[in-house]
Amino acid sequence: MKPIAFTLNGVARTVTVDENRDLLWVLRDDLGYTGTKFGCGASFCGACTVLLDGREVRSCVTPMSRVAGKKVVTVEGLAQGDKLSPVQEAFVEHVGFQCGFCTSGMVIGATALLDANPKPTRAQIIQGLERHLCRCGAHLRVVDAVESAARKMAGGAK
């Protein structure tokens, strides 16, 4: 057990935990951030994806030792108050979800993707989200949403 300081959705936090514990369960069970989901526990599905210093990581296999001193952003941290992020808005507009369980990770993954590549091709979006699983089959809508978010963020026409 040791104190680990990091930034969570812009707020400085310190948790005293075993540094081998994974971020997912510290978020969900210690801090009450349940927006980040458990899907497979082995980094295959992407439901637990969060941003770590702006890059997408699978929180189910990210030990707290790696989180120390870093910035963590979860799905709860994307909106500014009531104002959804452009990616979130696009997911709402294009209905980039059905059951919603993969959506937190999907939205985070799309956010990281557009941050790294603001003008992705459709093929790059597909490649970028490849490791996010969706069982409902909302894939088409998700890709449409990310394309639309990219256009909006670039200031282009909708």
């Binding site: 349940t34 980040t36 709860e76 909106a79 997911f91 059905q98 919603g100 089959g137 909302a138």
Partner: protein, 721 residues
């Protein structure tokens, strides 16, 4: 975020009801207009689905409520649940349409056994198809009652009144008006809808048939939407349960001494249930690893290859599910008889949310379970029996469900959570690991389907002998114009008759129909090739049903199908199906890599006649979802197992459809105003195996009779050319 109106509390995203308690409900319904209405059990075709939950109580004579309060808000109380399929939009649309209120004035409370009347479960594409018409009629009844009250209050004859946006208003004098809220408030009016009420004409619909934003969208993109595993009652502990390594094994000893020494760990036993509890899930995981167990070996010698011979020989009675004419005589009149045997393996439901439940016991002994379940009411009975309680001492609350696909018709995890909560004396969270999900899932059963069909000199199908093992009868009904046919089934997805299967099986999106339609439509294609006819023209030649012909012709037009006998090398496929009352045709274009055997599905076109469409966008999303999900069982998904051990326990070896698999998807919903709304959650998936198998045949000349069509199997088949 909770919206609080003068008398109604509905959390963000509707349906999410954990903050409404019985008191709120009684307060809410103590005044206003409450219409109770009954949903009749479906017809014989759906009876096997309806009877799935054997533990059910006798349904009361009504099983849904519609309430209108003093604030003019309409609340639907239905036992259905929202698992992504979108009835959270569709059902309120139906009520809003007939009541003439804006859609955003309708709330929907779902899947709560304390608040909602009995419902058997959310499956079989029944919600809009079967609940919809009765909800519609109940709304008409409510509207009639309110208009009658308005007539008395305003002194205006009923015939001179109309309703706009929840206000009853005189057609001739706009100053004479009274709102639903004013009419319903301060009174208690109860009605039971049993008869027939006059419904709006389809041509007059203003809300049904339009697409609306989903009310759960914002909650789902912000992480605020709550699922069962997100519920944390005070003092709740995660439970990780000691499990056998293989099916059929029994625990002989458990040594928890090392796990007990971990700080914060509690060991709880309830009979055969032994669990490690900890406030943090990951720490419970670690402690579980310290538990030493011994088990008896599994008696099963079955694996994913020898299972088919077992299914054929296991002694389970055959039943006839459909027949006409004389198959033997028909065969005698045939110019050629073609036989084939089709085999498919077990498929997992694999919702992204594993089976989850949180149970809490109140001081008065009442047990509340938040569960990811498709069957809250049968589950209530199941939990009550396990705890030896009266059903009313158990409340099941169903928050948003993270995918079901039939797999959450079984809810073992909720019984486990309830038993452990009672044993531990503290709330308990049971969230299955992905490995538990792959182990305890009620898989789509493996199947062996034999078809022997005769073709006469005029290229008409004159006999059809269909012997189905494992997948049951759904989807196997003969809609082609075949004078002599017979379909027999042995076993099915409901229960595990005669120990046919080495583990539990259950309903998987359009249960059995995926296998049965695949076999039939593959065989029809084989007959078309034998007749040297284009697959669409051959089907039209053998099809009289005008509704199916129309769907086929519409799909062909959208696809741009031009006639050519297969294999045409174009890689085009077609498959027809009927499911949940909906007629569906899929067409696909594939490319097959001869070196790797990999199948690339380039394009899928799907046309449906589903009657009146309540929410076209929602229906389209279901079709798209069916197409994507269908790629899985067709191309990759098969649960591997050996001697009781499930070998695929996570997504490393078991692959769900991925973004890169996505074909170009085009959907057509036929205008069908004369037919009531039919089912929409499943039909578009039933033809996916066949349409791709037929396209692969068209591309390569190879008929593959085993699902999934993995690259290795395709390579092997190509090598035999």
């Amino acid at each position: 975020m909770i919206r609080q109106d003068e008398e109604m509390i509905v959390p963000e995203g509707w349906g999410f009801v954990e903050t409404i308690d019985r008191r709120d409900f009684l307060r809410l319904t103590s005044t206003g207009l409450l219409v109770a209405f009954a949903v009749k059990p479906p017809d014989d075709a759906l009876r096997p689905v309806w009877n799935f939950a054997e533990q059910q109580r006798t349904p009361p004579d009504f099983n849904a409520f519609l309430h209108i309060g003093a604030n003019g808000r309409v609340t639907l109380f239905v036992g259905k649940i929202e698992m992504g399929q979108g009835i959270i939009t569709g059902l309120p649309q139906i009520a809003a349409e007939q009541l003439n209120v804006p859609l955003d004035r309708v709330d929907c409370v779902m899947g709560d056994t304390d608040l909602c009347p009995f419902d058997n479960g959310t499956f079989g594409s029944l919600s809009v198809w079967r609940l919809g018409p009765v909800l519609h009629a109940a709304a008409a009844e409510a509207c009639a009652v309110l208009v009658q009250m308005a007539s008395e209050k305003l002194g205006v004859p009923v015939a001179e009144l109309t309703v706009k946006d929840g206000v009853v208003i005189s057609r001739t004098d706009a100053s004479k008006a009274v709102s639903y809220g004013e009419l319903a408030g301060g009174k208690k009016i109860e009605r039971r809808y049993e008869g027939q009420a006059a419904l709006d004409k389809v041509s007059e619909y203003t809300i049904i048939g339009k697409s609306y934003p989903r009310p759960d969208a914002r909650a789902k993109v912000t992480g605020k939407a709550m699922y069962a595993g997100d519920m944390v009652p005070t003092g709740a502990l995660h439970a990780r349960i000691v499990r056998p390594p293989v099916h059929g094994a029994k625990i002989t000893s458990v040594d928890t001494s090392a796990a007990e020494k971990v700080p914060g760990v509690r060991i709880v036993r309830d009979g055969d249930l032994v669990a490690v509890l900890h406030a943090h899930r990951d720490e419970a995981d670690q402690a579980l690893k310290l538990v030493k167990t011994t088990f008896t070996p599994s008696p099963s010698a079955l694996d994913h290859e020898n299972i088919f011979a077992h299914l054929e020989t296991v002694a389970v009675e055959r039943r006839q599910v459909g027949a006409a004419g004389d198959v033997a005589a028909g065969e005698k009149s045939a110019a050629q008889v073609i036989s084939a045997k089709y085999r498919k393996g077990y498929v997992a439901h694999s919702p992204m949310e594993t089976h989850s439940a949180v149970a809490s016991v109140a001081a008065d002994g009442k047990v509340t379970v938040w569960a990811s379940t498709q069957t809250p009411f049968p589950l209530q009975t199941q939990v009550a029996r396990a705890l030896k309680l009266a059903p009313e001492k158990v409340r099941i609350i169903t928050p948003f469900v993270g995918g079901g696909f039939g797999g959450k018709s079984a809810s073992q995890q909720a019984v486990e959570a309830a038993r452990l909560a009672v044993a531990a004396g503290t709330p308990v969270r049971v969230v299955w690991s992905r490995e538990e999900e792959f182990f305890f899932d009620t898989f789509d059963p493996a199947a062996v389907i034999s078809i022997r069909a005769g073709l006469d000199g005029a290229k008409r199908i004159v006999s059809w002998d269909n012997d189905i093992i494992g997948s049951g009868g759904r989807g196997a009904a003969m809609f082609y114009a075949v004078p002599n046919h017979r379909t027999m089934t042995k076993g099915g997805w409901s229960g595990n008759q005669g120990g046919m299967h080495p583990f539990a099986v259950g309903p998987w999106r359009a249960p059995g129909a995926n296998a049965n339609v695949w076999a039939r439509e593959s065989h029809i294609d084989t007959l078309a090739a034998a007749a040297e006819m284009d697959p669409v023209e051959f089907r039209l030649l053998n099809l009289q049903n005008p509704r199916m012909r129309r769907v086929l012709e519409s799909c062909a037009k959208k696809f741009g199908w031009t006639p050519k006998p297969g294999p045409s090398k174009r890689g085009f496929g077609v498959a027809l199906g009927e499911d949940a009352g909906t007629y569906v045709v899929n067409m696909a274009e594939v490319k097959v890599d001869p070196a790797t055997g990999a199948i690339r599905v380039v394009r899928v076109v799907c046309a449906q006649d589903m009657g009146v469409v309540v929410n076209p966008e929602g229906a389209t999303q279901q079709m798209e979802g069916c197409i994507m999900m269908g790629l899985g069982y067709t191309l990759a998904e098969e649960v591997r197992f050996r001697n009781g051990e499930v070998l695929d326990r996570n997504y490393g070896g078991y692959s769900l459809p991925k973004f890169s698999w996505m074909p170009k998807i085009e959907t057509v919903i036929l205008d069908s105003p004369d037919l009531p709304s039919q089912g929409g959650g499943e039909p578009a998936i039933v033809g996916m195996g066949a349409v791709i198998a037929n396209a692969v045949f068209d591309a390569t000349g190879v008929r593959i009779t085993r699902l999934p069509m993995t690259p290795a199997r395709v390579r092997t088949a190509l090598a035999k050319l």
